[in-house]
């Protein structure tokens, strides 16, 4: 009994220490944001690494998710004799939820884990120490460009995911199941609102990007500098970032859509 309480106390202390360390990490990063934006070449390289290299998985996943949404939507809506609404349903579920959320989950697995591993290995091979000895702040040179690159890349990836998802839904419902093409688009056009849906979906993607970037780089910077430590940190990035995305999505949805 005492043991259980003690271990509860220990783990909550560790949690608090972790939160404090994370807050300190963010506090160190904030003043570097303006300078980070001007290091264009570093930034472009990182946007390529995080964004462009994530394109194949985002494109494929977007298409398939859209196609499945089309199939399921058509199947359900047919029982209410309103197959034409399938366009609206596909578009709204993608723009409001599935686009930002699924793109963020894939991004956490594809780019977040890579960032943690890269930064963790840079630290374990003394590259951070070497930078400090050359009077270059690793937070400025390594961490900041990667954070900004995530924030630039993920919203764009989410948009691409949504566009391909809608295309996938269109191909399946109009091309295969025979829904009227005009109805598909005009219903979607009437029912998707620029501000309430598109902007809110975009805001979600930005918030998720900040979360994933911070988790991935925090884990990389504080990983125990051994192969085992880095591999554990990589796993933690994927788990924490994915759960964080889902949790935040619930909070954001409850603020935006109620």
């Amino acid at each position: 009994m005492i043991k259980a309480i003690a271990s509860l106390g220990r783990s909550s202390l560790m949690l608090l220490a972790g939160i404090g360390q994370m807050a300190l990490f963010i506090w160190q990063l904030l003043p570097l944001v303006p300078g980070g934006i001007w290091r264009i070449r570093l930034l472009i390289k990182q946007v390529y690494m995080a964004g462009v290299l994530s394109l194949p998985i985002i494109v494929t996943a977007g298409l398939f998710v859209g196609m499945v949404l089309g199939l399921q939507g058509h199947h359900i809506l047919k029982t209410f004799n309103s197959e034409e609404a399938v366009g609206t349903m596909t578009a709204l579920s993608l723009i409001r939820e599935l686009g930002p959320v699924v793109a963020a989950l894939l991004f956490a697995g594809r780019a977040g884990s890579a960032l943690t591993a890269e930064v963790g290995l840079m630290r374990s091979t003394e590259q951070f120490s070497a930078l400090e000895m050359m009077a270059v702040d690793p937070m400025r040179y390594v961490v900041m460009p990667r954070v900004l690159a995530c924030i630039i890349a993920l919203p764009m990836l989410a948009m691409i995911f949504i566009a391909l998802g809608i295309f996938g839904g269109y191909v399946v419902t109009v091309g295969w199941l025979g829904v009227d093409s005009g109805a598909f688009w005009s219903q979607m056009n009437q029912n998707v609102d620029w501000h309430a849906d598109v902007i809110n979906g975009f805001i979600k993607a930005v918030v998720f990007a900040v979360l994933i970037a911070l988790v991935a780089l925090y884990q990389g910077c504080y990983a125990i500098p051994t192969s085992e430590g880095v591999s554990r940190a990589t796993t933690r990035t994927v788990v924490h970032a994915s759960l964080g995305v889902l949790g935040l999505d619930f909070i954001l949805t409850s603020i935006m859509f109620t």
Binding site: M122, T125, E126, Q127, A130, E132, M133, M134, A135, V136
Partner: protein
């Protein structure tokens, strides 16, 4: 003698419960090669990190030009480090940059207004000095351990530092390269009037170029002096270390309980 450029005063440092240094003091004089020797695991790398302010001592001070580096602000410390070069034991090259970009990196970061042609000349000069001008397009992953250490050396001297720290520069080098490196360290020191701090356990090589050498054991300096003085020392510790004998007063083992075969 002139005023010391670096002074380590009563330095103590522990890792967890293990005391690595206890009341360590020594001085580094300008224009000289100061060697710190000691068995593996005595904390030579740790000592270098304490000297450049990457680790904080528990007690004691490190003075650079008479100023305690612990009292410096981050930007003052960074300004001081532009006058230092450090060769890491592992090389520590940036793995996403080529050999050329690695050596040019400090120039690009601190003197970005230099003409590109000039940067290229400077980089080629330093790479030539370590015998790797032909390797400038390679990536760090394509280099051997010895080669990456030489690239790291070229990078450490690119800004023409006033003080340079070498962590085990000779490990993993073939005899020819070793000879070249010894000459290079000596000539950098003498021609550019650098101050060198050299950490190593390659006794013969080190003693051949050092002006002053300290022998480190169990957290303190057990002997120091010129190479000739050390060789003539009658201390058993020093003789054991210089001759590389396993038995003697210097422990070869990491501290443990005595090892005994129980027979109960």
């Amino acid at each position: 003698m002139s005023t010391p450029i670096i002074e380590v005063i009563n330095l103590s440092f522990s890792r967890g419960t293990r005391k690595i240094f206890h009341q360590l003091s020594f001085r580094v004089y300008p224009g000289k090669i100061t060697a710190i020797m000691g068995p593996s695991g005595t904390g030579k790398t740790t000592l270098l990190k304490l000297m450049v302010g990457q680790l904080k001592p528990d007690h004691g001070q490190v003075l650079f030009y008479g100023q305690d580096i612990q009292t410096l602000s981050r930007s003052q410390l960074y300004r001081l480090r532009q006058k230092m070069g450090m060769l890491f034991q592992s090389g520590a090259l940036l793995t996403d940059l080529s050999v050329y970009e690695n050596v040019a990196f400090p120039l690009h970061e601190h003197f970005s207004n230099l003409a590109p042609g000039l940067i290229e000349k400077l980089v080629e000069m330093k790479l030539e000095a370590v015998g790797l001008r032909g390797a400038k397009q390679l990536m760090p992953a394509e280099l051997s351990g010895g080669m990456s250490r030489r690239v790291a050396l070229a990078r450490a001297i690119i800004l023409d530092p006033e003080v340079i720290f070498y962590d085990e520069p000779f490990v993993g080098q073939d005899p020819i390269t070793m000879g070249v490196l010894i000459k290079l360290i000596k000539s950098l020191n003498d021609q550019l009037h650098l101050t060198s701090v050299l950490v190593s356990h390659d006794v013969d090589e080190v003693l051949s170029i050092a002006d002053h050498a300290c022998v480190l054991s169990e957290g303190r300096i057990i002997a120091e002096g010129s190479p000739a003085e050390l060789k003539a020392s009658d201390s058993e510790y020093v003789q054991q270390f210089l001759q590389g004998r396993a038995d003697g007063p210097v422990p070869f083992h990491y501290p443990v309980e005595p090892w005994s075969v129980s027979n109960d």
